[in-house]
Symmetry: C2
Subunit: 85 residues, 2 copies
């Protein structure tokens, strides 16, 4: 595989992980999360948690790390939704 | 690896892919997407698109398929955000 594609995969992982930050900042700024689906965010948190379990099972540090950060960010959104929903 | 973990990975992929459906249904039902971050959804769509490119590069059909469905669902939310934002 061309090394360029390793970079593409890494950039993809970074983007889909840290993309959650603007959503957190928006809720904190506006103190409003009514339009956000609790089912979607809770399901994403559960799914990402299972990705961490899978990452541990296959011994993949990138899968574990990216999904652990995602889990913390998405769990934060679930908490903000419950507070400002 | 225990075959149970293949199931965990598959369930994780299904959950993080189809978790977007309730968010789409909620926006369509309430015709309101003001609290959803456009930056987050557009970044997620871009990141997931790069995951598809990576999946093609490494020849992984599960990565390609899961991310293609995710891309379509997240792109739909971007469109709904632009309409009902």
């Amino acid at each position: 595989m061309h090394p360029l594609f390793e970079i593409v995969g890494s950039v993809a992982a970074c983007i889909t992980t840290f993309a959650w930050l603007p959503q957190i900042m928006k809720i904190l700024r506006e103190r409003q999360a009514r339009d956000i689906s609790l089912v979607t965010t809770a399901a994403l948190a559960s799914g990402v948690f299972l990705w961490i379990v899978y990452g541990i099972a296959i011994g993949s540090l990138p899968v574990i790390m990216a999904n652990t950060v995602s889990f913390l960010l998405i769990a934060t959104i679930v908490g903000l939704k419950l507070r400002y929903g």
